[in-house]
Symmetry: C2
Subunit: 368 residues, 2 copies
DNA sequence: GTATCTTGCGGGAGCGCTCCCACACGCTGT
DNA sequence: ACAGCGTGTGGGAGCGCTCCCGCAAGATAC
C-alpha cells in the first residue's frame, strides 16, 4: 500500500506538500494542488489512519458505549434505530463509529475503551441511574455526550427525549377522554427513562385532579412478559382500572394479551396505551395510542453535540449543554372515549395546562 | 497520559522490556515481569493504540460493513440481534468493532473503510446478490467473512443460515398437515436469503408431489406493509390458497392482517407461517409457526472465522470456508391440521425426505 | 537601494510503540 | 582453558504521518 512519501515522489513534491493538499491546508499553489490530487486519485491512495492518529492525536473515531445488559440493542427497537442513526450521522460527518458494549458485570473495560487514546470522544447510552462510568469520564476530561440524563448533570452534555412531558401528555389525554381510574405499568426502576415517564404521568394526572394509588403502579422491565404479569396484577385490583398507561410499546402488547386472557376488550372494557411508537404500535391489535419519539433526531443531536466539543470551529450556532427533544402523542385505537364524559373541571384543566406547555407536543392521529 | 518510556523509567527497565511484558513475550524474568506489571497497574497505563497499530500493523479492530438501505438494523430484529452478538463476541476475544454503514448510493466508502489500513479484517453483512464490494475485497486480499453467501463463493469465507433447508422443512410440514394449495410471499429478489427460501420451499413442495403455480408466488420486501398487499393479491386468486409460507415474521404479521380484513380466520380458514422466529412470532395472534435461526450462533461463527484468518495459531481445529448453520422449525398455532388428511404418499414422502436430511432440523413445539 | 512581508515549498523532529540486533552473563562441554 | 549456547536486557531504527521551522523568490514599502 502506498505512502505519502511515494505520492510525493510521483508528484515531484515533498511529503509536506502532499500532506497539506490532503488536509486542505493553505499555502499550496493551485497548480501543485491539482497535480497531487490527480496522483492520489490515480493510485487510490488513502493515508494510513494509525500514523495520522499518532501524529495528530485525532482519530476521527468516536465510541458508542452501551451498557449491557440494559441496552441490549435488540431488546427494544428504539435502541436499534438509534444505533443506526448515530452510525449514519457519523459517516456523514467524516467520523467512524466504534461500538462498545460495556458489561455491568465486568466494569474494567473502561481502560480498554478510553485510555488507549484513540477515541476522540464518546457517546454514552446509559439507561442506568448509577453513573460511576460517567463520573470517571468527567473526571478524566474525556469529551462525551450522555444520551439520557444524569442526576448531577452540571457541566456534562446530555441529549434526551422528553419522557416526562410525553407521559404527562398521555395522562392528560386519558383524563380528557373521561377515564378516572388510570393505572400504569412502569419500566425498571434503575432506568432514568422509567422514572421520568412515571413522574410525568403522575404530574399529568395531578394536573387533572386525579390520583394514582400505589396499587395502580406496577413495575415491569420493558419486556413483553413482564408486562403480562404486571397487567394481571392490575386486573386483580378492585376496582379494576379503566385505563393503563404502559411505559413502552413492547410491554403494551403484553398488557393487551393479559387483558384478552381476562376476557376484556380493548378499548371497550379497558384502554391501554404505550410509549415509543415502534412499528409494533401500528401492527398491534388494536393499534396503540402511544408517544412517538424520534430516534433519528436523538441520534443526530448526540453526534452533533459531540462534534461540537471536538471541533469548536465546526460548531453551528450556540450549543446547549442539555438538550431535551420533543415527543408527539399519537392517537390510535387502543383507547376510546369513555361513555361517561369527563367532568368540566378536568376538561378545563387539560386544556389549560396544555397551553402553558414548555415543550409543546402535537396531537396527531396517525392511523394506518 | 503515560507512555511506555515512563513506565520503563519507573520500573527501572528499558522500553523493550515493558513492551515484552505487556505483550506477554518470553525472555523476561519473573521478577522483572512482576515489577513492571505492578507499575502498570498503579498508573493505570494503557498503551497507545495508534502507536501500537502503526508499529505492529495490527489494530485489533474489525469492521462490520452493512449495506444500506437493505440491512437497516432496525428493519428486522434479526439484524439488530446479529450486530449485538458480533459486538459481544469481539469484546470477548479482545477485538473492537467498527460499525460501517455502506450506502449503495455512494459506493466510494470502500477506500475510506478499507484502504486506511487500520482494520484487521471485515465482516460483511451483505444481503444483496450484487457483489462488487466483495469481489474488490477478494482482489485486494483483505481478510473478510461474508455473512450470507455469494454466487462465486470459491476461496471466500462465508457463514450463513440454512435458509433453503428451513423453507424446505416448512413446505414439508405444511404438506404433511394436509394442505395442498400452498402459496408464498417471498422477500425481495435482490436478497440471497429470499432466493434461498423460495428455492427450498419449492423443493420441499416438489418432494411431496405438490406444485406451486406462479400466481401463488408474490414478492414482498420484508416489510409488514408489502406483505399486506402481497397477501391481498394471493387472496384474490381462484382457488384461494389454503396455506401461505411468508418469508419472514414481520411480513407474516402483515399477511395475517390482510387475511383478517378478508374475514378469514387463521388458521381455520387459512394457514400462515413465518421465518426468523423473532419475538413478534410469539406475541402475534395467533402465534406463528416459523423457522428459528440463531443470530448468536451466526454472529459468533462469523467472528470466529475471521479471527481464524487473522491469527492462524489461535484457530481451534479445522476451519471450514463455508459454514451453513442449522435452523429449527418451530410449530405454533398459525397453521393447524387440515380436515382432509394428507394422502398416504405425501406422508411417506415427508417422512422419507426428512430422514435423509443433511442438516437435520428439529421439530419443537415452542408455545408460550 | 535596502528592509519587510507574503507565498510556496522542503526537511527534520517527533508521535509511542514494535521488532531486530547487540551484548553481558552464567552455564555446559571439550 | 576457551568455545558454544541459552537467557535476560538495552538500544536503535523505523512504522507513516503532522507540524514546526527554515528558506528561496517575488511583491510591496520606504
Amino acid at each position: 500500500m502506498a505512502t505519502l512519501e511515494e505520492i510525493a515522489r510521483l508528484a515531484k513534491v515533498s511529503r509536506s506538500t502532499v500532506s497539506r493538499v490532503i488536509n486542505n491546508k493553505p499555502r499550496v499553489s493551485a497548480n501543485t494542488r491539482e497535480r497531487v490530487w490527480s496522483i492520489i486519485h490515480q493510485t487510490d491512495f488513502h493515508p494510513n489512519v494509525a500514523a495520522r492518529t499518532l501524529a495528530s492525536r485525532r482519530s476521527h473515531i468516536i465510541g458508542l458505549v452501551m451498557i449491557q445488559p440494559y441496552n441490549v440493542v435488540t431488546s427494544e427497537p428504539f435502541s436499534a434505530e438509534l444505533v443506526q442513526h448515530i452510525a449514519a450521522t457519523c459517516e456523514e460527518t467524516g467520523y467512524h463509529l466504534m461500538l462498545s458494549l460495556v458489561s455491568t458485570s465486568k466494569p474494567n473495560t473502561y481502560g480498554q475503551i478510553v485510555r488507549g487514546g484513540y477515541l476522540d470522544g464518546l457517546i454514552v447510552y446509559y439507561a442506568c441511574t448509577d453513573d460511576s462510568f460517567v463520573s470517571r469520564l468527567q473526571r478524566e476530561k474525556v469529551p462525551f455526550v450522555l444520551i439520557g440524563h444524569s442526576p448531577q448533570a452540571d457541566g456534562i452534555f446530555t441529549a434526551d427525549m422528553d419522557n416526562s412531558t410525553g407521559a404527562e401528555a398521555m395522562a392528560r389525554h386519558l383524563a380528557g377522554l373521561g377515564y378516572t381510574r388510570i393505572a400504569t405499568v412502569t419500566g425498571p426502576a434503575f432506568a432514568m427513562s422509567s422514572r421520568d415517564r412515571l413522574e410525568g404521568f403522575l404530574k399529568g394526572l395531578q394536573a387533572c385532579g386525579l390520583e394514582c394509588p400505589d396499587r395502580y403502579i406496577q413495575e415491569g422491565d420493558f419486556t413483553e412478559g413482564s408486562a403480562f404479569l404486571a397487567m394481571q396484577h392490575l386486573l386483580s385490583q378492585d376496582p379494576q382500572p379503566e385505563a393503563v398507561f404502559v411505559a413502552n410499546d413492547t410491554m403494551a402488547v403484553g398488557a393487551i394479551r393479559a387483558a384478552r386472557m381476562a376476557h376484556l376488550r380493548v378499548p371497550e372494557d379497558i384502554a391501554i396505551t404505550g410509549f415509543d411508537d415502534t412499528p409494533m404500535a401500528q401492527i398491534s391489535e388494536p393499534p396503540l395510542t402511544t408517544v412517538h419519539q424520534s430516534s433519528e433526531l436523538l441520534g443526530r443531536k448526540a453526534v452533533e453535540m459531540l462534534i461540537g466539543q471536538l471541533e469548536p470551529d465546526r460548531r453551528e450556532g450556540v450549543v446547549k449543554q442539555n438538550v431535551v427533544l420533543p415527543v408527539d402523542l399519537v392517537v390510535r385505537e387502543s383507547c376510546g372515549a369513555r361513555l361517561r364524559l369527563a367532568s368540566r373541571e378536568v376538561k378545563r384543566s387539560v386544556k389549560e395546562v396544555n397551553q402553558t406547555e414548555r415543550n409543546p407536543f402535537t396531537y396527531c392521529s396517525r392511523t394506518r
